[in-house]
Point group: C2
């Protein structure tokens, strides 16, 4: 027997910068498409992981996309994951290119959570047509998945899992696994159930593998298993997986019966999406629009800019109130943006930390109250420091100590208000069940602009004139 | 044999809102501490998961923290994870409360990646003292971990893993696992190695468990295994795990020899941290400071506000250049913040999407060039739309069509520049190896403020006077 082993073809070694290499490869495929070298394109595509193929499809111009879809069409049933990896906009477009029966075949090959995620975005009519083309058993699982609330554990879970009676031994379990033909492709944990199909625990595969055949599964129970109610919000699911380092968790119905399993790879996607959503929304973007058309992007950004426009007009109205004052001391017009800008920035710092704390579920009760007090103190400290700086700059610039005093005082007040509102606004919005990442920014800018302009110009009118 | 099974104590059922319940529990423990009910505190703490205990320690006042550390001191060796779950600032404080030998015991009980992560943050002297108290074998593994660059795969990996010769069968592997006493607590994959200890593939445990004893491991090889060089940046590692849904991956040295394994739970933390970092930095916060003291928070926020102050003064200088114009038409002072504010917001939208695309490694080459072109177009479209709106508002407000024309034209120019710079600034910074999330905001605001004020006031001086 020859035991010398060469590096086999199946083992991919990642380069140092795999992401860049992937982007370059995708660009080369697009070049080949542009040059009409379809043979080469087909050959390269055959070697791609379905996640990479999805990235390629997302990047392409709609015409090129159609060409590639026609190339991969016959293999879609073997590689259904491609569709799961696509973003919504591109996926809709590609589903529209396929016949309902083709989509039905792909869906039947998918694990339930992926199939549900695809179907939930289709419009009513398309959905009915496609579901009708699926085999009954697969269709029922998808329909059951759709019966759970959006973004709930029920939508995230896959129904394919391994559940055996608690009193089984390792030996009996292994024998069962070796002969059963209804197992999921991959799994991380074996759940133990009672006669009513309620989960009573889970055993990690590594524990099962290292234990003798006579050992009872019940003795291998993992301490960290937690059952998840099917209607739990996916953010809470993500919290549990992050907090306790879970790899998989059983999902149960109202009666505690085992329904399915959520695995860490689904949760990685949720974490990534939730993080992305918060980050974009804080930046005034409703949803990832990098791959959207110019028209769609302009439309979705317009509404946020519109809200901001109203805020800006409100700030202008405050300034207009002091037109007479400005006409007398034009220096005020020169200096006034400084106060408002510093207030906006200080408030944004506090708001970002608060929204982040709310997203990771670490801000509530005592910790929230403590945060508000702390942010007011931080605002006061930096307010005083910058009051000295800006006061000196203004007094020297316009050779007028009075104007230095006024802008310094306005700075202190504005930064304290900025700290207070940066912390309180997101907390209040969360309490009102409004997403703090979406709405905090508008309210905050309104407050800091109005307070910034009003205190500075108001104090100037009162003290300087 | 009685096969009726009751819900055993080990199975924790999560409530609907586990995060809130945890916060409430932590608040109750703090209340009990304040009331001096140490007995009750000790009893509750004993039931806590180490991640929850870490959250409690983070929230407490330093004095209360000392009390709790004294309570858990004797059990720290059994539950070393508590220290891994803590944030850096609180962990430093707690390590300072412990004797070097106590820390050494905890480190010896930890998996390598956690131990390395703890030791890397200690100062030189503390580190030497603690390492000297560790058993040689454990110390060597930690020191080897420290020899890899910070934030690299080498620091993330754990050394505890399962690697067997490729020609082994399932039966031989299971027998080995059942008798070996140097196995990690938990693992997800069995790596196959060649005689030179180079990994040639990996088999998922679920595949091993369901295969007959005579099957060769080589026939169970997972297609998605990728080896990771030990010096790969952790962001690239996170990219690979996300892109390909990996659960674990082998880490190799320069010669391709197997060094250790990275598992998905480590990567979840990296993803969470990198996301958090980007989000906070875009908001002008250097690092998570929610749990820092008032003084530390004020100090770290001060520097960003200082940079912003310079930007604001620069914008003021632009306005000062047009003092004479403003003295003649005070309406300009009233309206000028609108243009700058809209430019800042539109630019921030583009910047946020760009920074996000760079963070997920999806922006390079063609996709980056396409983004710049698209963002200019989006800026032009929204520029024209808001030019009409703001032009009408200004013309009516001040009964002066000229001022409406000027502000409309300034709006178009500013929003186009905002789209261009929102896309280009982060791309250029990334190319220069400067973190775009940290620096883009300053440059962007400077550009949009200067362009906003200059075009509006400049056009006004040129056209209206």
């Amino acid at each position: 027997m020859n035991q010398t082993v060469d590096q086999p073809e199946t083992m991919e070694s990642a380069g140092d910068r795999p992401a860049e290499e992937l982007r370059a490869l995708i660009d080369r495929i697009e070049d080949a498409l542009d040059a009409g070298k379809l043979n080469r394109v087909e050959k390269t595509i055959a070697t791609l992981h379905s996640a990479d193929l999805a990235d390629l499809l997302e990047q392409l111009h709609p015409d090129d996309r159609r060409t590639v879809v026609n190339l991969i069409r016959p293999q879609l049933g073997d590689e259904p994951e491609v569709l799961s990896y696509l973003n919504d906009e591109v996926r809709d477009e590609i589903v529209a290119l396929l016949r309902p029966e083709e989509v039905a075949t792909v869906l039947t090959e998918m694990v339930t959570d992926d199939a549900v995620a695809l179907v939930e975005d289709l419009d009513e009519e398309e959905r009915e047509e496609i579901l009708a083309s699926m085999p009954t058993s697969a269709r029922l699982l998808v329909e059951e998945g759709l019966s759970f609330p959006e973004e709930s554990a029920g939508r995230l879970m896959q129904r394919e899992m391994v559940a055996v009676p608690m009193f089984w031994t390792v030996g009996k379990t292994i024998d069962f696994l070796r002969t059963s033909d209804v197992l999921p492709d991959d799994f991380y944990m074996i759940f133990m159930i009672d006669p009513k199909y309620r989960p009573v625990g889970g055993a990690l595969l590594s524990r099962v593998l290292r234990s003798r055949r006579s050992v009872k599964l019940a003795d291998l129970m993992d301490q960290d298993v937690r059952t998840i109610p099917a209607d739990m919000d996916q953010e809470e699911v993500a919290f549990l997986f992050r907090q306790y380092g879970l790899v998989s968790a059983p999902v149960v119905d109202d009666g505690g019966k085992l329904l399915g399993v959520i695995t860490v790879d689904d949760v990685v996607n949720v974490i990534q999406e939730e993080n992305q959503e918060d980050m974009l929304r804080l930046g005034g973007v409703q949803e990832e629009d990098r791959l959207s058309t110019v028209a769609n992007t302009a439309r979705s950004r317009f509404s946020w800019l519109g809200v901001n426009f109203l805020t800006a007009v409100l700030a202008s109205a405050v300034i207009a109130f002091f037109e007479a004052t400005i006409a007398q001391v034009v220096a005020l017009a020169v200096l006034m943006p400084i106060v408002a800008s510093m207030g906006g920035n200080a408030g944004t710092q506090t708001m970002t930390v608060t929204v982040r704390g709310l997203a990771t579920k670490e801000l509530a009760g005592r910790s929230a109250r403590r945060m508000v007090v702390k942010e007011i103190a931080v605002g006061a400290i930096n307010g005083v420091l910058f009051a000295v700086v800006v006061g000196a700059v203004a007094a020297l610039w316009f050779s007028d100590p009075g104007i230095g005093f006024v802008i310094g005082l306005a700075m202190i007040i504005t930064l304290i208000v900025a700290g207070l509102s940066g912390a309180v606004i997101p907390l209040v919005l969360e309490r009102l069940n409004i997403d703090p990442a979406v709405a905090s920014g508008v309210f905050l800018t309104t407050v800091t602009d109005v307070v910034g302009f009003f205190t500075f110009l108001g104090l100037a009118a009162w003290i300087l004139l």
